[in-house]
Symmetry: C2
Subunit: 572 residues, 2 copies
């Protein structure tokens, strides 16, 4: 900021010239002291410039005693999990009081590499919510799959000092860190002295000590209080995760007390569109936290000042002079119903509706990421080579899969689905380089009765994953996803039943949120029509996640996660 502009702000702060705006009759929640201050807040140049009754403004808003709190901050979220592009996401989140998110563009990085991260940054510039980024640390997630890109330490260094980049995103390769893998240490070295997020489920004792010594300063994978306490005592910031898939908050709230609280925060990790629509974002977590008996000041700190401190964001997380005027008006400190929201001093939402704004377009290159080979029905069925096969066994309500061995389901000498045993055909088609690599397998427990599902959302490499009861349906669904440039599809025979286009890297829509919600609803209906399971697309998206035990599938074949190697579909 020019000296002249600063001097103007200071004049507003001194009360000598009218502030750009004054919010009067506010019950300001002071998170430094825990006190509620009944006062006015003066805003100038997008910042708070003062609190006090003496301020007059060019514009005045009387909020009639309502509470004024800082904009909420989500310390860890994958934008891609919302299926929305940044502009549409802002439209949804801002009315819920979200002022900033710290995003890990891990998914798009797996598809597009550096270009994907750049695209996400470009597409989130100038929106009515602060989009801050951590640089993905583990692309690809394993060597047993083909991603669209690989990011080594040199690649990370190129991105490390881009504007709005804070540090290194969740270091999922925790064995690599614990054991001093040089490629991991190289990446950590790039971000020395800056925020480095961790990801180390159930790690404890000496291995945890090694992980923390290596560099990560936070963890969002705690699932029980003992784990969280140990990690906190070893110096990690604890991100209590409450996403759409993983919900750890209730288990972890007992960790909070007046001493530990300051090192904790609430984060989403992933949040699906229907969750955003029906529950909200951090406002929902605040409601839940206070309902669970946590005092509102502590609850608010978990989504404001604490993440701001953890990430060194000096201008965020409080209502104080020099801080960004990211402000949220709420009627009470229990339901946290959001009335008005200001971002950098501008009113950006009111009564649950975002104000109109225009956002940057998503880079065109993101619309051309589906590079499929020529596909036929044969692509989804292979000749039988043995009487026994490995099967990915789903377990109700668990993300872990079982490694099962069953008699080969077959028809006309080819591996086939078997409705009687709830066995569906499964394939992962490499879709970044049109290499023609296809991994084949079988999945049990999906409840598919007929037809097929296909998706380009398939963690972490986001190849095209297809499951179905017959090759023709699978071909139909797969081709549909290809034709959309990515997305989700349900087909039966040659008929398309429903689809959700995700043309941005095959991961995100650029349609308005209501459209996406509607498409998603139709898709879920169609999926329910062919399947008995609750969320077959979720199971599909995780079928390829080669870091979670026990049996997974990639474009290179079946992955025995325990042995961390490829295994043959057929068992001798």
């Amino acid at each position: 900021m020019e000296n002249r502009a600063v001097a103007d702000l200071l004049s507003q702060a001194r009360g000598e010239t009218p502030a750009d705006m004054v919010i009067k009759n506010a019950s300001v929640v002071n998170l430094f002291s825990g006190r509620i201050e009944e006062t006015s807040v003066a805003l100038g140049g997008g910042l708070v410039v003062g609190l006090g009754d003496e301020y007059e403004g060019l514009e005045t808003v009387d909020i009639a005693g309502a509470y004024l709190v800082p904009g909420f901050i989500d310390g860890h979220i994958h934008i891609e999990s919302t299926l929305l592009c940044p502009a549409q996401l802002a439209r949804v989140m801002v009315p819920h009081g979200t002022g900033a998110i710290i995003a890990d563009p891990h998914e798009i990085a797996n598809v597009m590499g550096i270009d994907g991260v750049r695209a996400m940054l470009n597409a989130s510039e100038g929106l009515p919510m602060d989009f801050l980024f951590m640089i993905p640390s583990c692309v690809p997630a394993t060597h047993l799959e083909t991603a669209g890109a690989a990011l080594d330490a040199d690649a990370l260094e190129q991105m490390a000092f881009w504007p709005r980049v804070l540090g290194l995103a969740e270091l999922m390769n925790f064995p690599g860190a614990v054991n001093g893998d040089p490629s991991v240490l190289d990446k950590l070295a790039v971000f020395k002295g800056r925020p480095i997020d961790g990801h180390a489920p159930l790690l404890k004792g000496p291995d945890l000590n090694a992980y923390v010594t290596a560099g990560p300063q936070s963890d969002h994978e705690c699932t029980n209080p003992e784990e969280a306490r140990e990690k906190l005592e070893r110096g990690l910031w604890i991100m209590m995760r409450q996403g759409t898939t993983a919900k750890d908050m209730d288990a972890l709230l007992p960790v909070l007390n007046k001493i530990t609280e300051r090192r904790c925060m609430l984060v989403s990790d992933d949040r699906h569109p229907d969750d955003l629509a029906h529950k909200g974002h951090l406002d929902h977590l605040l409601r839940r936290t206070v309902a669970a008996g946590i005092d509102p000041i502590t609850a608010l700190r978990l989504v404001t000042l604490n993440p701001a401190r953890r990430f060194g964001l000096d201008g965020l997380g409080a209502v104080a002079p020099g801080y960004r005027a990211n402000l949220v008006e709420v009627g009470d400190l229990s339901r946290f119903k959001v009335n008005r929201v200001w971002h950098h001093g501008d009113l950006v939402a009111q009564n649950g509706q975002a104000m109109e704004f225009s956002g940057p377009d998503f880079d065109q290159a993101a619309r051309d990421t589906m590079n499929l080979p020529q596909l036929g029905e044969d692509s989804f069925s292979i000749p039988v080579r043995s009487g026994k096969v490995r099967v990915i066994g789903l377990k109700e309500g668990e993300i872990l899969t079982e490694h099962r061995i069953v008699e080969t389901p077959q028809k006309d000498g080819r591996v086939a689905a078997d409705p009687a045993r709830d066995l569906a055909l499964l394939a992962v088609v490499e879709r970044h380089h049109a290499s023609g690599h296809i991994g084949h397998g079988l999945i049990q427990g999906l409840g598919l009765k007929k037809g097929a599902l296909a998706s380009s959302v398939s963690h972490d490499s986001h190849n095209l994953v297809v499951c179905g009861m017959d090759p023709r349906s699978m071909l139909t669904a797969a081709r549909a996803v290809g034709d959309m440039g990515g997305g989700l599809a349900v087909a039966s025979g040659t008929e398309m039943l429903a689809s959700l286009p995700l043309p941005l890297a095959g991961l995100m829509s650029d349609a308005p949120f209501p459209t996406v919600l509607e498409q998603l609803e139709r898709l879920d209906e169609a999926a329910a029509g062919v399947s008995r399971a609750g969320e077959p697309f979720m199971a599909l998206a995780f079928a390829a996640l080669a870091v979670i035990p026990h049996l997974r599938i990639s474009d290179q074949g079946l992955v025995d996660v325990g042995k961390f190697e490829l295994v043959d579909l057929f068992v001798e």
Copy 2:
């Protein structure tokens, strides 16, 4: 650190290879949780690499259940106030558990500018205590005096990114900041996004809002709880000062509670050698804090994790993996008697004694800063021009002075001292550039009976200040200080009674601490022999501090602080 070295540390952390050292049977005070952990601490490569009972070390120290706490951190101190050079200071502080100080080399900067700051950095490299620095923001302190150097924004920029430089030191020119003085804003801009310390006594309301908006993030000038609470609520970190001169701790401890505590710390600002010898350093403040009823965990946080967080020092302030092995063994958490002290993993003190170490020499240039003009008796006595003169009036126990007007004390047509009215001659001789500038005045209340005192410690420009009952004594004392290359001297007639050489910039000794203490004692005795006042050198050192009301003296003459302008000694 090389990957290979890191991998070795991680192996120690995993417990696969023996740690460099293991401290067994420790009661580790975990400042993240407040819990006392009875465990072992593994040290490798100067860092803590793990906590746990399973560790074995190449070396083992059994501390038999004693408490282990992180090295103490003083968030704000002027090294020069101790009269010791960094190496000697480390020798004194380390046995008291001090692991790091954040120093503002404001005094030496006033004498030597950039070279002075560099000299202080060089002289504090590799010592058994971490010396971290803030860059002096206000050199010279005013335009009404002649300092040895002036540091503008460009000069600050040269120093801003030197190793061990954290940010911008106390911004004493708070009117300049509040009112948007461009030269002040330029300096703040250099340190944008980094720690900026404040200094704004009694500032409140809109002016405080403006000050905070301008950039400072802390304050160490609070003297009452209301002031501290307001500043804390506006986002400032509160440094509760307990130095040799200013003692604000008792007044400010009531501000502490579980919410506010995390934004507070205890600092020294200044600490004289006798205080260090008889009371200690932060260990003394811990004793006092706990005696005042603050729980030990909170007290410890005020001198460990809180300053570390305030300054973004990720590896300091806790006993945790990856943190520097700056550790202090104390027998209990009330008296905080320090047994052993480790710094970067090395034992550096035991039973009150620092281990031997060699420190770098102080830059030679610092020994050549006394540039006095030719002085004679005439230099200290001027012809009477009027029957009334202004007099600096001292008040018992106050740093404020009075602006008094009295009948001119005279002898043979020249201004003279007058023992009956407790009036002594006073002069400030510009000593940086041998310009010959001498400011003349009179001081009342010093209790001087005969002889003279001279000092090159004279805030903030550190010119040569001399007071006395006759010009001959003044000349003797002044010449002695010049001959020593700076220091303090007491003379009577042509006889030198005692002196304390401060040859480093005229501010610091390079003698061992016991020598300095002894010299100081003899000096105080000699001063007591010629004066009735308690600490005449202290009064002398502050007589030139042109920012504290009401009447002061500089080499340019008398300063009316209220009007912030020079005024004539004589009144018409």
